[in-house]
Amino acid sequence: MKWWAKLRRRSTLERDLADEIAFHRDMRARDAAPPPFGNETRIREAMREFWTFGGIETTLRDVQYALRGFRRSPAFAGSAIVSLALGIGAVIAIFTAADNLLFRPLPYRDPERLLMIWENNAKSPSVPGLSVSPANYLDWKARNRAFEEMAALEEFRTVLLDGDRAEQFRMQAVSANFFPMLGVQPLRGRLFTPAEDLPGALGGRLLIISHRLWRGWFAGDPGVIGRRVRINAEPRTIIAVMPPGFHFRNREVDLWSPIRLNPAYNYRQEGHYINTVGRLRSDFSPGQAQSEMSAIAHALEEEHPAYNRNWGVLLEPLRDSLVGNVKTPLLVLLVAVGLLLAVACSNVANLLLARYSARHAEIAIRMALGAARVRLMRQLITESLVLAVFAGAIGILLGWYALAGLIRLAPHSITRAANIHIDWRIVAVSILLSVATGVIFGLAPAMIGSKGNLAPGLRTATRWGSSGGGNARAWLIAGEIALSVILLVGASLLFRSFLKLTGVDAGLRPANALTFRLNLPPAGYRADGKSTRFFVEAIRRIEQMPGVRAASAVSHLPFDGESPSTWIQLAGQPAPEPGKQLLAAIRTVMPHYFETIGIPLRRGRDFNPSDNASDAPLRFIVNEAFVRKYLPEVDPVGKRMQAWMAPINPFGEIIGVVGDVKEGSLEQSAVPTAYYIHAHNQYVGMTLVVRTEGDPAGMIPAMRRVMQDLDSTVPVAEARTMETVLGETYARERFATTLLGGFSLAALLLAAIGIYGVLAYAVSERTQEIGVRLALGADPWRVVALVLGNGARFVVLGLGVGMAGALATSKYLATLLYDTGPRDPMTFLGVPLVLLAVALVAAWMPARRASRLDPVKALLGEK
């Protein structure tokens, strides 16, 4: 009979045999006087023996038995499955994120040989990678040997005009060798040549678009190559479409054009505004390249002291520049996940041990009746495997959701550059983990449980520890508590730091404020004052809208990227030596900006409309940091200063001082800033700031309509509330805090379950002893104390070890903490208290049960 035929339901086979025998019996009855038929039951049993199908049926039967057992003790099964599922889900989520962000190969040829080439300034060592001056880039390119290719890119926002549709997109201007260096070919069309990457009309007309733009904006038009559009009102021809998913460091870029640097031009005084990336030659190491580049930078310092003094070179592997400041939090998370998993597994081990100890009697009876030891072990392991399979399935689901939540919580800057999806290898590893946990933790208690001397199991009186599980479980609990303490301390530290961080006054009032960007096409607004008049009109129209209290504009919104810096010079002070110039950030604003955005005015006055004319006298407003650094102890109002913006820089009068805005990150002190009125520094791109009466987000559609009426070729871009913008700033800390907090809570929950389990077991094991004591007249609470006392020893032990461990390891969190020491006393006092409280709560029910035991029942050994 084929094996699959054998798997037919047992009942069918039994029925067939019954039919066969019945037939035989009937036939015999019809014939001569029948002798006794024979023991039908014996025949049946002989057949049944024949019907052992071996492996599969045994396993199926074991599984059924296991499931019945779980239905009878749902608390055990539920706790075990939940514990394991939590651990596995956490592992999947974190490892997937880490894998995608830290380990995934980049989609370029030989990505490990690609390095970002930054400049750095010896005077601001805390800022590692700064933009590059094209002059330096050209010199590096000419002089270096370490790189086989070096490319430049510049990123900005532009307005794409096609027919009557206008929208803002991000564009990267790149050198001609950029795409070949990355090893990328376009999906359609061709890349631009080095000849087209030079100044002159030819290259300026070329445009490469992303796959996403082709499919979306151009609706997959097969004739898109050669199509004519406008970028910032200038005509362009599309020459290529990039493959799907192609990007370089910024997933939101949809357009590429030639950067058209002129090798003959002296860019020295244009400032530092491009990024450079290079491919290392195969026979050079990054260390060697860094030495060579530093030497070149040094030579340039000597040759151009006025411009290059204190400027050096910093090489950074491409991947690091992408992952950068998320490395530490992720590594912390990996460790935290490991801890959580350890807690989960020890909890499961605990539960399994308890269960097998409780079934000691059953196992002993079965062995006494002749069950093979192997058979018993096999059954116990099967039970653990069933648990593991359930936990694995739930864990995968949990992991999926956790990953989705992680992505949504994570700082936009990280996920912007990543495409996170679950790797099936990780799922497979998790399943293996599940199974391994099941087997290991099923094996140990199984070995203990089935090895026993049968006699103690068959006796009804047992003492705690004699079944071999008790002490092990107590140690496991101690370990769980220690690990939970470490997690809790970490989470609390981060939480306190986060509270301090968000409590810091940003320097402006983000509530009820709306911002959006307007980029005018430069071609149409070059005439003097034309862009100023446009923005004045835009602000006027907005202020007339119902629900708007005030509106203004700024060239670079705080907390939304850097504003450019330049040197400033104060009247009456000697010219500083090269390398010791005074640096200030420059912003351009419209009148009443500070009032609109909520930056307080400290001295003097704000810009007003009469300042906002190109023939008005040049005036400046500075912030407190500027005054502290450059004009201490004098009244800054009325002083004259100049900023190096152009070949000729007139002096202007300082008319006011405003409060600091904590830029960059809330942790650093403010940067000295000087503000221009728009008429004297006519940016064509400004960010409008609108203060509203009510919910700012709801006003966005109305804003779009108003701007559409004003000029339909100028789209409203990046419309969001100021609170959203601010939120991104401490997204990283919020992310780490939330995650670690979640883990700690999970660990705490698991520890509570574990403590409850151990104590409940202790009570049930010593039931008879408790009964005796109660019967002899002991005070119930003394009895409870006795029972719990033993368990308490281990809780305290775990606490102690955990605190020591936390003290030792919390220093690794220091880089993530703001204004909170890694040995913060409140945390280290609070956590043990919390844990003791949890332990008490978990111990409450078993304790109550112990004190309520009916002595008679206890003595009789009933449970």
Partner: protein
């Protein structure tokens, strides 16, 4: 009637031999063996059915549920080619065994 215990393998051989006459159900096989042996050999049901199923598992027989001559459902067994081969090798073994025993039992 004396009941003789049969060695298991011998019973298998008898069943196979009986089935060379054609397809039959379990009862018919038992009756056939009784008749051929002139009632010397009586097959117990407790031995017959396990033997039949064992032979079927070894693929020396195949079985089929059919309607019997009395209009009832019964399981009919049939020899397979492998079964025939097994029968011929078993019967030659048996003959050799019998001859050997006879030689030993000859009067000295």
């Amino acid at each position: 009637m004396a009941k003789k215990d049969l060695i298991q393998g011998t019973l298998d051989m008898l069943i196979l031999k009986t089935l060379t006459a054609g397809t039959m159900h379990g009862y018919a096989i038992a009756v056939a063996i009784e008749n051929r042996s002139a009632d010397e050999l009586r097959v117990e049901e407790g031995a017959l059915y396990p033997a039949l199923h064992r032979l079927e598992a070894a693929e020396l027989l195949t079985s089929e549920w059919k309607i019997s001559e009395k209009n009832r459902r019964a399981k009919f067994y049939r020899l397979t080619p492998a079964g025939r081969k097994h029968l011929s090798s078993e019967s030659s073994n048996w003959n050799r065994l019998v001859a050997a025993v006879a030689r030993v039992m000859e009067p000295v």
